[in-house]
Amino acid sequence: MSTATPDAPSADTAPEKLTKKILTADHPTWCPGCGDFAVLAAFYKVLEKLQYPHEKIVCVAGIGCSSRFPYFVNSHGIHFIHGRALPLATGVSLSRPDVHVFVFGGDGDGFSIGGNHLNHAARKNIKLTYVIMDNNVYGLTKKQTSPTSPQGFKSKTDPTGAIDRPINPMKQLLASGATFIARTHAAQVKHMMEVFERAILHDGFSVVECLSECVMFYAGSFDNSTPRKGGVYDIIDESAHDVTDDTAAFKLADEAAPGKFGVFYQVQRPTKNALEQKWIDAEQARLAGKSPKDVLKNRIAQMR
């Protein structure tokens, strides 16, 4: 219905080249050393590479430190409410096939208050890319247990150590029906960029869990996967792992922390965007060029 077509460059001007400089907006309000800085830098770089028309980039987020992301990208953006970024992004993606939708948020935003939306956006295979900056803690509200905090983690809501078993993000995502599922690390810039690029180029619901240290409230959380701190960064060997096999991926997700990194799962399944368009096309073919106004008039005439 919209007259906009995908990636059509503006008629009059030559498309401007997207650079980090152009993409940079406000200086991030994150704490010095916060892992989210690296995520932002990687995102700029991948966008530089992909060169989408500037005006077709949309950044969406809920609430949290990580969810401040859209303020730091000079693109169309919306900073929504806690936990509901995905349904908002669903509304954008389905009603605007011409734009590229990116969603950013934290572990609390995505897996606690927003957990159900994640399941349903995934099963519907909405076309968008979702990056979860997982710091295993609630940053913005100053150190409460998050759904990914490991048992024993001392927070303001678990003064003697976290009691509840955390979720397993990869298992949850695999069960949800997401069609691209990967895991990366803010301190592994090259890997992170590769994963982001694959996620963005995937035609469907792509989601990346990106470990991103909260230096303020959970310093050292990811040392065990940071080689320069003596950890091991264990990347999935895709020649040995069939990324289209969700059971194999589920098995991989069993590994104890820090677990594996890389693409756990990727399949092609029609997006809801495409399926709804198919229905629209069928209905419109049936109506054989009748104008919307005439469609309405006929419908009302049936009530005579």
Binding site: I22, N74, H76, F80, R96, N116, V295, I300, M303
Partner: protein, 591 residues
């Protein structure tokens, strides 16, 4: 094939027929057929029905008010009661007027009361239908038998009526249609004895282009005409039919309606579509509106245009999901945290559902603000006949505007109403806008400056002040001055106007007004009230800890006028005219 009744018909201007049985008996469809017929034969009609809230069914009624003149309520009392079962008889005989006719099924109704001159007419629907169709179809054709019976009794246009029936059943199978017609004809031919027959007097000439339908259907047509192409919702009674119709219709217009996982997701998706530059709609009933409260506060803060429909039902909580009530008004206005300005509208009858949807679309866009439409269970399901809306005249093109914006573009200018630049819009200055729920400066950047917060709060309020000034006063029914002004909103319009007619005919100086713009109220409303000695607000919600209902509260606060009184009820039933008349008389009589 069957003989028409022969006695000379009595001429009537109005008839109220109540059908009482179980929900499985297809009473709703008899009612629907008659209502549709009325729309096609220059009669006015209003219907009223009850639905059991469990699926397995249970007692149900359909009441139909047919008239040669304007019909404004489903009728206080019925002229004819058709009782399918003993419980139908027992529970509804009191709704029959003195001397009314009770047609009952002697196979089912065994104990009769003789009272108030009521004429009892036994008609064995069950056995007669079995006889007509054949043994196996018990229960199924009874409704068609009764339809035939009523067609004969009221001398209705048999040909048109069978046409309507044929169109409906023809969709199913020939067998079904044949059986339906057999039952219909049997009912038509059934000799009811000496109660005679009636026909309708020639009424005022009603408009040529009349349609008949219910409020939910017409609201959906209004949304389509207003340019709505996207949105999302979650099912709930009595909202669901709007979402089902949007889901079915929108693909024809190139749009998409999404069934979300819950109401929180639904409003978020709808806000997403609004942010994306569309006019989008979400909706629900009571509990679902509560779930949208946080996101609506966002829409107020971010100043996004959006239509939200709330088809009210009995509350609080799950309450009475299939009864009518008007108890979500204060929530619609004040139900979100913070000072979250939004616009609230209420349609006054089925026809108005179309125009209120258009108005909602217009205001949402003009004021870049969420607009809540408060419909209700009665409007949602009752059928009325009215002039067909002129689509050519009202048609609105969907709004998506992604033309480039100049370098000085700001999403939240302090000196103008917000106009967003949706995704896809090229920003000539190179600076892209951000939409946010944090307090923000003119560019959408978060600010905790005291000055900014004060100014932005003023900005968001000021647009409603502007709107209040721009709104005309609501129409007065009756004279513009007098002893009593009855004020209502929503579905109570009919009974209130009937009350005015009745009291004026008795010499009282009574007028009424139905408020469609509930928030903000038109600025001139105080002047309007000042020309009456008393004001009585009539609404279907609780009379409150301090003795007044929800609209009355708004009006009393705005005008600080102790002459504003309140009449409320919460029994889940539409107002009877006599209830409103009694309340008005009491107010008139008091000092």
């Amino acid at each position: 094939m069957s003989t028409p009744p022969t006695s000379t018909p009595t001429s009537l201007r109005n008839a109220v027929i109540r059908l009482a049985g179980n929900s499985q008996d297809g009473i709703q469809s008899i009612g629907g057929f008659l209502a549709r017929l009325a729309g096609r034969t220059q009669k006015d009609v209003m219907t009223y029905m009850t639905i059991p809230s469990t699926i397995s069914g249970g007692p149900s009624i359909f009441q139909l008010h047919l008239g040669s003149g304007e019909v404004r309520s489903p009728g206080d009392e019925s002229d004819v009661l058709v009782a399918f079962y003993q419980h139908s008889y027992d529970n509804h005989l009191s709704a029959l007027r003195d001397g009314g006719i009770c047609i009952y099924d002697p196979d089912e109704v065994k104990e009769l009361k003789s009272e108030r001159g009521i004429v009892h007419v036994p008609v064995p629907f069950t056995s007669a239908t079995i006889e007509a169709i054949g043994g196996s179809s018990r229960d199924r054709g009874k409704n068609m038998f009764v339809l035939g019976l009523l067609c004969a009794m009221y001398q209705l246009d048999r040909e048109k009526l069978s046409g309507i029936v044929a169109r409906q059943f023809g969709k199913k199978s020939e067998d079904i249609l044949r059986n339906a017609m057999l039952a219909f004809d049997a009912g038509y031919a059934y000799p009811v004895g000496d109660i005679g027959s009636f026909n309708f007097a020639e009424g005022e000439h009603l408009d040529e282009n009349r349609i008949s339908t219910d409020g939910n259907t017409l609201m959906t047509m209004g949304l389509l005409c207003a340019g709505v192409r996207y949105g999302s919702a979650y099912p709930i009674t009595p909202w669901s039919p709007i979402m089902e119709l949007l889901r079915t219709e929108l693909p024809k217009y190139g749009g998409i309606y999404v069934q979300a996982e819950d109401e929180l997701a639904a409003v978020a998706m709808t806000i997403g579509a609004a942010f994306a530059g569309h006019l989008a709609v979400t909706g629900s009933s009571g509990p679902g509106l509560s779930l949208k409260a946080e996101a609506l506060s966002y829409a107020s803060m971010a100043e996004l245009p959006l239509i939200v429909i709330n088809v009210q039902r009995g509350g609080p909580s799950t309450g009475l999901p299939t009864s009518v009530e008007q108890s979500d008004l204060l929530q619609a206005i004040y139900g979100s945290h913070g000072d979250a300005p939004r616009i609230v509208l209420g349609p006054q009858d089925v026809e108005d559902c179309f125009y209120i949807a258009l108005e909602a679309g217009r205001l949402a866009r003009e004021y870049s603000c969420p607009v809540i439409i408060l419909s209700d269970q009665a409007l949602s399901s009752r059928i009325e006949a009215f002039t067909e809306p002129d689509v050519d005249k009202h048609w609105v093109e969907p709004p998506l505007d992604i033309t480039p914006r100049p370098a000085d573009f700001k999403p939240y200018p302090l000196d103008q109403i917000t106009r967003h630049a949706p995704p896809g819009t090229k920003m000539e200055g190179g600076k892209y806008p951000i939409v946010t729920g944090l307090e923000h400066d003119e560019w959408g950047h978060p600010s905790s400056s005291p000055v900014i917060h004060q100014k932005m709060t003023d900005k968001r309020r000021r647009k409603l002040e502007e709107l209040a000034r721009a709104l005309p006063n609501p129409e007065i029914y009756g004279e513009a001055e007098g002893d009593l002004l009855i004020v209502g909103w929503g579905c109570t319009c009919g009974p209130i106007r009937e009350t005015v007619d009745r009291l004026r005919s008795e010499g009282h100086r009574v007028s009424s007004t139905q408020i469609r713009h509930l928030h903000p109220l038109p600025a001139g409303i105080g002047d309007m009230f000042s020309r009456f000695r008393k004001v009585l607000v009539v609404e279907m919600n609780d009379s409150g800890v301090y003795g007044y209902g929800q609209l009355a509260m708004l009006l009393r606060a705005k005008l600080a006028d102790p002459r504003i009184e309140s009449f409320c009820k919460t029994d889940g039933l539409a107002f009877r005219i006599r209830e409103v008349v009694a309340a008005a008389e009491k107010t008139l009589a008091s000092a």
